[in-house]
């Protein structure tokens, strides 16, 4: 029994470290593909790692008015996001962690991280922090109902809210394109774009005061704190990628007690799918321009509508 426990613990540890390591790589790939699409050379793939290393070595400049909340927030945000990312089954489902929380808790963990980031943003006492926090919270109020309906769709279809349970259900099911699942996929993609401050909702690369949301909150951070925040943002992106992969494209995920080779295959399949998404995202971003702030309700509202439609379709018959 203890051997089995050790393997379990190792697998869970491997998943957590895997997710942490590939996060900057995913961001690198996204930036590179985006540059390529704009016919630019683009930064090297490992640029994200180099940025983190550079930031770690720099001294951290903190505003006078900042309190202990400002200094401790980055570590808490990173920890919350990392635990949330570890919850999502990447190469194997049913790992030790999946027994600790389900998707509702996952969404709540992300909510906690977001609230702490918004508070940290306001701690410094400048208008940029205010802009970022207020818009971030407004986007959250639009995204959470949609996320809730996506969870409801999956719960009705799979009968459970545990991510591993949903993944196992779809693996066992014969392959079939279901309209409700397609609609909730669209909804999840839109919510992911909104939550990760990607192009239609917020431009991650901009420092233009009036448009930035995520960047405005982290404007005052520098040095090692900024590094931790950047890592947390990258982790969040990977979390949403693996969430989409695990819920909608779960093929190749190994069972909880499968042997080492199955885990290896699982990792390969997971990396391939991640790469696919990391390429699709910049394609989507470059094809559309950033929206004005008060068009967000329409955009995220459409995600809500899609998820609602998915739920109603499921009411008609489980088969949809």
């Amino acid at each position: 029994m203890t051997r089995d426990l050790v393997v379990q613990f190792l697998a869970q540890g491997a998943q957590m470290t895997l997710v942490l390591l590939i996060a900057p790589l995913a961001v690198g790939v996204v930036r590179r593909v985006k540059a390529r699409l704009m016919r630019r050379q683009g930064p090297p793939l490992l640029q994200a790692y180099l940025d983190l290393a550079k930031l770690l070595r720099k001294e951290s400049v903190i505003a006078e008015g900042a309190s202990w909340l400002f200094r401790s927030a980055p570590y808490l945000i990173f920890a919350l996001t990392w635990v949330a990312a570890a919850l999502v089954p990447s190469f194997a489902s049913g790992l030790m962690f999946n027994w600790a929380a389900d998707v509702v808790a996952l969404v709540a963990l992300l909510g906690a991280a977001r609230a702490l980031l918004a508070l940290a943003g306001m701690d410094v006492g400048t208008s940029f922090g205010g802009i970022g926090s207020s818009r971030e919270m407004m986007i959250a109020t639009l995204a959470e109902p949609a996320m809730m309906l996506i969870v409801l769709t999956l719960a009705i279809a799979a009968g459970t809210t545990r991510l591993a349970g949903v993944a196992d259900f779809f693996i066992a099911e014969p392959f079939a394109v279901r309209v409700s699942m397609a609609l909730s996929l669209i909804a999840l993609v839109i919510v992911a774009l909104a939550e990760n401050a990607r192009i239609p909702v917020d431009n991650p690369a901009t420092h233009l005061e009036l448009t930035m949301v995520h960047e405005a909150m982290v404007l005052e951070y520098s040095g090692r704190h900024l590094a931790v925040i950047e890592a947390a943002a990258a982790l969040k992106l990977v979390l949403y990628f693996s969430l989409i992969v695990c819920l909608f494209v779960p093929f190749g995920i190994a069972g909880p007690d499968a042997g080492i080779p199955a885990f290896g295959l699982g990792v390969l399949a997971y990396l391939a799918k991640l790469l696919g998404l990391a390429v699709l995202l910049p394609i989507g971003e470059t094809s559309v321009a950033k929206m004005r702030v008060f068009r967000y309700p329409l955009f995220v509202g459409s995600a809500f509508a899609a998820a609602a439609l998915a739920v109603f379709l499921l009411f008609v018959s489980k088969g949809f």
């Binding site: 929380a101 306001m122 208008s127 207020s134 309906l149 545990r162 309700p297």
Partner: protein, 668 residues
């Protein structure tokens, strides 16, 4: 029988304290708080014993209604609510001990505080309609007198007047409910009512009456408008009691009538609480997000939490009507846990607001700021309260929110089409409410405690005396423990759940770790607070250690980035209303017909531009202003009858005589 005797003695102690305080003046008034704290502890211990022992304790006193007497019963439901109430009373009393003996003790507040606490406890152990309504109305009376303690301010007088009228309307509705239950013969004792439940039509009337009665005291839309006026007007530790604890007595009333006295539920009974609760949750928060007064924001958020609890109760009704006790157990556990959690973090937040008011003398958010540096402990406790009320994972708010979401997710399995389609709508509205709560409390905390002080009072603030910090600290600790030990609390609820819905939550044993909270069964949904909290702690510590080893440890303090404009005035910060501007743009137009108008001066004119926001409160206009005008208008028209001549009065008499004579002529 000893339990009731002990709680009788404690209630007696409260009444005697009230009486003595009414007679004494000056510093002796401070004795009230230790006595009420002791009484609260004894009552709490008695309640805990009865809850865990699970055996009911009943007594019958010869006083009360002639022929029926005063029935008292402490069963597991009352015991649970007793713990909630006495916890709140204990915290408020400890906070009260911190008051400065010389200036702050007034004979208008101290004598009424123990009376208010005693009345609330009496409501719980009342076992017949007369005792229930007697103590219910006594509770409203005591809290009215407390709200009007600052009687020189016309605002609090108007709030107190509206509050007492709404309380009277609530009592009238409950009187209808108990009238329907007791029937024409007047069998007011609860056990006679349980013996023969009313037929369906009367039961429906009773349910609506109970919803109006308890909803008005709790703050359900549209009976809510008094709450944000009355609760802030009372002294802080009293508004903590009113918001955190009195609303729970209202919920106890509804649970006692709907689940205990009305007999087996019918499925459509669930619709009014669910629909009203969801609307209350969302609208309550939209009010909170737009309001700029700290204590009024907290009062509006009380309305939201009461709405959430009523949704949970509605779901419990729906599940038990369709014969699914485990679903009903999850929904009822969500409701009861949310009652417990809300009483903790709302009391904490109101005591925090009281501390801020005590330190700065200001309640408007736009006048505060930067208090985290000047009131570090209060800020820390307020932060715990704010995160807890926004239902964020490691804290207790999330435990009941999670259970509620599990119940909503299981709701589509209900057969009736109305409930079937209602569940996604309810789920969406609850998620919106959760997000709005987070936004609201980030706004409150950010504006009040973070950033730079926006007024001289805020700059000169200092932290509150130790006793008040102790009260807040205790509640904050409870919020954290409640979050981690959520499953233990759920297990403690088992006797109450068995009594109300016939089933309890699955035990923790069935999950991998002893502390995991399980909704239906481990395979379906699980939330293990300690494991998650442990891993978050480990992760943050390891990152802290790794980052500190790898990186430069030097930090430098520098001016915040100001885009090159050297003017560092605090006015540039985001105020409460600017933080609410995006939310007002998105939701305000629909809910309150909010319009922003900007009046630019003609070019070349140096006058400043004027920016104004018009927010129309439809609910106030329709449900409060209109009836008020109608009554005054009608009384104006009728007033003519006071100034008639004698001849015209004789005409009145003559006409009535002729009418009665013709009736007599016709009928016999």
């Amino acid at each position: 029988m000893p339990e009731l005797f002990v709680s009788g003695v404690a209630l007696g102690a409260l009444a005697v304290a009230a009486f003595l305080a009414a007679l004494t003046r000056g510093p002796a008034l401070a004795l009230v708080y230790p006595v009420s704290a002791l009484a609260a502890i004894t009552l709490g211990v008695v309640d805990l014993r009865v809850l865990l022992a699970g055996a009911d304790v009943a007594a019958r006193l010869p006083i009360g209604l002639p022929g029926i007497g005063l029935h008292l019963r402490l069963d597991s439901l009352s015991a649970f609510f007793g713990i909630v109430i006495n916890g709140g009373v204990l915290a408020a009393s400890v906070y009260g001990m911190g008051f400065d003996r010389a200036k702050e003790l007034t004979p208008r507040v101290e004598p009424l505080f123990p009376l208010f606490a005693a009345a609330m406890n009496l409501v719980l152990i009342a076992d017949d309609a007369y005792a229930f309504l007697f103590s219910w109305e006594l509770m409203s009376l005591a809290s009215w007198a407390l709200v009007v303690a600052r009687h020189t301010d016309p605002e609090s007088r108007r709030a107190a007047h509206l509050y007492l009228i709404m309380a009277a309307i609530g009592t009238a509705a409950l009187l209808f409910a108990f009238g329907g239950l007791a029937g024409p013969a007047g069998g007011y004792a609860f056990d006679t009512v349980r013996a023969h439940p009313p037929q369906p039509t009367v039961a429906a009337l009773v349910l609506v009456a109970a919803l109006v009665g308890c909803g008005s005291k709790g703050g359900l839309i549209p009976l809510h408008a008094w709450l944000p006026l009355a609760h802030p007007a009372a002294p802080s530790h009293v508004s903590a009691l009113m918001s955190g604890v009195m609303t729970k007595v209202a919920i106890y009333g509804f649970v006692r009538i709907a689940f205990d006295l009305l007999g087996p539920p019918i499925w459509w009974w669930a619709l009014p609480p669910i629909i009203l609760g969801a609307m209350t949750a969302v609208l309550g928060l939209l009010y909170a997000v737009l309001d700029r007064d700290l204590k009024r924001v907290l009062a509006y958020s009380t309305i939201e939490n009461v709405g959430v609890i009523f949704v949970a109760l509605g779901l419990a009704l729906a599940f038990s009507a369709n014969g699914q006790p485990e679903g009903a157990a999850v929904a009822m556990a969500a409701a009861l846990l949310h009652v417990l959690n809300h009483s903790w973090f709302k009391s904490l937040l109101f005591l925090g607001a009281g501390a801020v008011l005590h330190a700065t003398g200001r309640r408007d958010l736009d006048g505060l700021g930067g208090l985290i540096h000047r009131m570090p402990r209060t800020a820390a406790f307020f932060l715990v309260g704010a995160l807890a009320i926004s239902a964020l994972p490691p804290l207790n708010g999330f435990v009941s929110e999670w259970l509620l979401f599990q119940a909503v997710i299981a709701a589509p399995a209900l057969p009736q089409a109305a409930l079937h389609f209602a569940s996604p709508a309810i789920g969406a509205m609850l998620a919106l409410a959760a997000a709005l709560a987070a936004a609201c409390f980030v706004r409150v905390y950010g504006t009040a405690f973070l950033g730079r002080p926006r007024s001289a009072e805020a700059a000169g603030a200092h932290d509150v005396p130790l006793a008040q910090q102790l009260a807040m600290g205790g509640l904050a600790l409870l919020c954290i423990l409640g979050g981690l030990m959520g499953s233990v609390l759920a297990m403690a609820l088992a006797p109450v759940l068995d009594k109300l819905v016939g089933a309890a939550l699955p035990g923790p044993g069935s999950g991998p770790t002893p502390f995991s909270l399980i909704a239906f069964d481990p395979a379906r949904s699980i939330y293990d607070a300690p494991v998650i909290a442990l891993f978050v702690a480990i992760a943050s510590l390891t990152t802290l250690v790794v980052v500190h080893r790898l990186s430069e440890r030097r930090t430098r303090r520098g001016p915040a980035w100001d885009c090159g404009f050297p003017d560092p005035s605090p006015a540039t910060q985001y105020t409460a209303s600017s933080f609410a501007q995006p939310l007002r743009r998105v939701y305000g137009a629909a809910a309150f017909a909010a319009q922003e108008t900007v009046v630019m001066p003609p070019p070349g004119d140096m006058r400043p531009a004027r920016f104004s926001v018009v927010v129309v409160d439809h609910l106030w206009r329709v449900f409060y202003a209109a009836p008020g005008r109608a009554v005054i208008g009608l009384s104006e028209r009728l007033n003519v009858l006071q100034f008639l001549t004698i001849r015209r009065y004789l005409v009145l008499m003559f006409v009535t005589l002729v009418i009665l004579l013709s009736i007599a002529a016709v009928t016999t």
